[in-house]
Symmetry: C2
Subunit: 507 residues, 2 copies
């Protein structure tokens, strides 16, 4: 077989896996936006079957044969040649899935169904004890899963590696120490200042106007509606079915305007990343997470979050943005915002106020919520924290970091869906996204002085072009740290993030 | 292996095929209702991959092994035991797909893409010559396909058997002869009468009101929105992703009210069939067309159409329906329908007026459009009609049957999408649906005299219960003719259909 033919044979196998995983994404999107209520059970079976087929395709003897030939064919290629990366990523995924027995996958899937129901029940009763046995089992199976995958220093390393390759319990501990030390004085300074007026955010904002503004916002940031759409859902998300069909979702709170605006900006950031992946990577490993069995173009959860947070916080939650665009928003809500100035609006949407709920947290307190969860996950995985003591550990951390007393489990340890779905190890990627977003933004602005002027002038296409060239187009070709090294000259560095928060909130 | 275990093993294989085919249906529904324009190309690849995987699953050695064991296990079962049927249907599908080489499937798929583009181009130019070479190739590949499947008397038999098992070129010829003879005098009588007033149907009917009435109409007929939804599309269709998620679509013509009303009634009829399949059949061959590789609960295209036409024509296009419900419709359009009576509305929506376009045809001329197409397909398949002479043959038939002169190819031979997508042999099922719908309705009303009163009183649940018990619940367990024999005591019989049309249009 020629070099080209053996690569093509492997690519054909990977393309089929990508097609199946994109189909899973369509089924998932549909289940969260369109599906009638009673369709849930059989939809779950369909998704399970497709996911199993994707894994079977990956572990089939035909793939192994194609892979071995492609490995020989790319031996002479450069380390970061796209072809070599594709072959390496396939090999890595094959070895990963070989190590995890089907029985464990089935056990985890079965647990997920009952654990989610138990979590919903527990949260409605605000009683952690109802969920506790299911979480204990989730941790036990996660530990078994980590042991299958393999780890050196800490079992949490294996779980984190699925979402954020390169990060470990130790690297996260170091990052969190720096962040806590840097964040605390900024938070203290912000809390010492009087609260701005924010009453107008809670007026009556009909969905129609929110949706119209959201659509214009996404378009303004560069989101391409010929390759996307914006729908309504309960828990907003972005999902892509190749770069040609990237969908975002939001929710409209009639009595709290910021939720849909910043939610839409956030998901638009994710969407821009996926729409910006090089067309040549379509249906390859460079647009498929073969380890996580998820068709995605972003190179890690943290890298993805860096783009959503960059657009949401550095652009849309900035003073210059509202100085320029507040009048557009007011056109949609002339009565509700008639007595509000652009600066008042900006100050209201950037006010700092520690609270119990992560998804409602401001920029300064958000990372404390994340670090708390990551610390807990880490301790649960190594057994240093028993599930039964989780509420106490949670409440103590909220007290220590935010000076708040958690009133009940529903507003504490039971607030997030993640653990009930078996996700252990993904929380840290939210904070990594914040850090990476600021680091990239800092470098881009430093390198190109006209970028700041363009943004101030409301021309976001220049920023999008920079990000597309430097990050989006590569898809999964480079790891997160490789991207950072290439573009910023160093690995993940919390300095620019703390600097950004300091100038925004403590100046 | 025990009897039960070997059946379960086969069922597991079939369930996976069903899951994949339902996923294909979700992807197809999405592509026709939700997908952004640029998503089409990769979506097509995804659907092709899933369809191929479904076929691979069916032809895998594991399926053959499970099938052989299940065949032994069900030898002693009754001929129409559900288990035996499931095994027989799987065997039949396996043998069918074994006979069709992958190369032919790929050739047909590749042709479909270019043929559809050529048809769109040809139709916009109203020039059959642009499409002609693609149709010639489609016929050649259909002939090759028919030869793979096998046929005795006529190659068209093989194509028709995919959509309507049991029908042949000969049986259709006989049916059409009876129908033509019976329809002509009814049509002549109807045309001899003065045309009723219909100007009000073409007034301005905003989509919102049409949609609200359509939703209430579907619900009134018994469609369950916890297991379904109604969306907008260009070419309306119904599709199910198991009985728990059955979706219907319609289109709203702002200046022609009947399109959405009767279109929605039609798709609701299809939807009721799928929602009514026994839950026990979910993910089995009794809810999967393993030959056509399509997850569907209805036993044939004709049987499916019988239910949609029954609800559309016998119920919603009836005088009693509008006597009872016209006031509901007028509530949505008080200005547009203020000067119209229920009887005027009924007469307008049942007026007879031969035209060129099949999808706009009335009840009396519709079958002439279908028979024309079936005759042509049959003649193309056996070579007695060359593709080049198709427009002449078409135009001559329209002249003979409807006394109209076709003005151009766009309003003649190029009007339907079917042939460009490779569908040869499905047209006759529309007329079979009309015939079967009337035959079933006639028997039900004859057997249960209170049914007519219930329908007149607007209680459609009794009819739905009857149809569910007698037809829907069985899914694909019985063939169309078995259903007819069981319920009406005889095979397909055009008598009741002609009787129904005569009393409606020539009384």
């Amino acid at each position: 077989m020629t070099q080209q033919a053996s690569l093509a044979a492997l690519q054909e196998r990977v393309a089929a896996v990508n097609d199946v995983l994109n189909a899973v994404s369509v089924l998932t999107w549909d289940s969260r936006t369109m599906m009638p209520t009673d369709g849930a059970e059989t939809r779950g079976l369909q998704i399970a079957t497709l996911t199993r087929l994707a894994r079977d395709l990956l572990l089939a003897p035909e793939t192994e044969k194609a892979l071995e030939e492609a490995e020989r064919a790319t031996e002479g290629f450069g380390q970061d040649a796209a072809e070599r990366r594709m072959v390496q990523q396939t090999r890595q995924a094959v070895e990963h899935h070989k190590r995890v027995p089907v029985s464990l996958i089935q056990e985890r899937a079965a647990l997920r169904t009952v654990a989610q129901a138990a979590w919903i029940d527990a949260r409605s009763k605000s009683d952690f004890a109802v969920f506790s046995p299911y979480l204990a089992r989730t941790i036990a199976l996660s530990r078994a899963y980590a042991d299958c995958i393999g780890w050196n220093e800490h079992p949490y390393d294996a779980m984190v590696s699925i979402y954020e390759p390169g990060e470990t319990a130790a690297s996260l501990k170091e990052l969190f120490t720096t962040l806590r030390a840097g964040l605390q004085p900024i938070l203290d300074a912000a809390r010492a200042r009087p609260q701005p007026r924010s009453d107008f955010l809670f007026r009556d904002f009909p969905e129609e106007g929110q949706r119209a503004f959201g659509l214009s916002l996404a378009e303004r940031l560069g989101y391409d509606f010929r390759r996307g759409r914006l729908d309504t859902t309960v828990h907003p998300f972005e999902v892509s079915f190749t770069r040609n069909d990237v969908r975002i979702t939001t929710r409209y709170n009639r009595n709290y305007l910021p939720a849909s605006i910043f939610g839409t900006a956030h998901e638009t950031g994710h969407g821009l990343y996926e729409q910006g992946v090089d067309a040549a990577h379509t249906r390859t490993t460079l647009a498929t997470d073969l380890v996580g069995l998820y068709a995605v173009g972003g190179t890690s959860f943290g890298a993805h979050e860096s783009q959503s947070r960059l657009w949401e916080n550095h652009i849309v939650r900035s003073q210059t943005f509202w100085q320029r665009h507040f009048s557009d928003l007011r056109k949609h809500f002339p009565d509700q915002l008639g007595d509000v100035s652009a600066d008042e609006f900006y100050r209201a949407v950037t006010r700092v106020e520690p609270g119990f709920i992560r998804v409602e947290a401001d920029e300064l307190t958000y990372d404390f919520h994340i670090m708390l969860r990551a610390d807990i996950e880490c301790a649960l995985m190594d057994g240093s924290l028993a599930v039964d003591y989780l509420p106490e550990a949670w409440n103590a951390a909220i007290r220590r970091d935010l000076d708040l007393v958690v009133p009940d489990d529903a507003r504490g340890v039971l607030q997030d869906v993640h653990w009930s779905t078996g996700y252990i190890g993904s929380f840290p990627t939210y904070t990594i996204g914040n850090v990476m977003g600021a680091q990239v933004m800092d470098t881009l602005c430093g390198r190109n002085p006209s970028l700041g002027d363009a943004i101030t002038a409301g021309h976001y296409g220049i920023l999008a072009d920079e990000l597309r060239t430097r990050i989006w187009q590569h898809g999964r070709r480079f790891t997160r740290d490789e991207l950072l090294e290439r573009e910023t000259g160093r690995p993940l560095d919390p300095g620019p993030y703390l600097h950004y928060l300091r100038s925004k909130y403590a100046a």
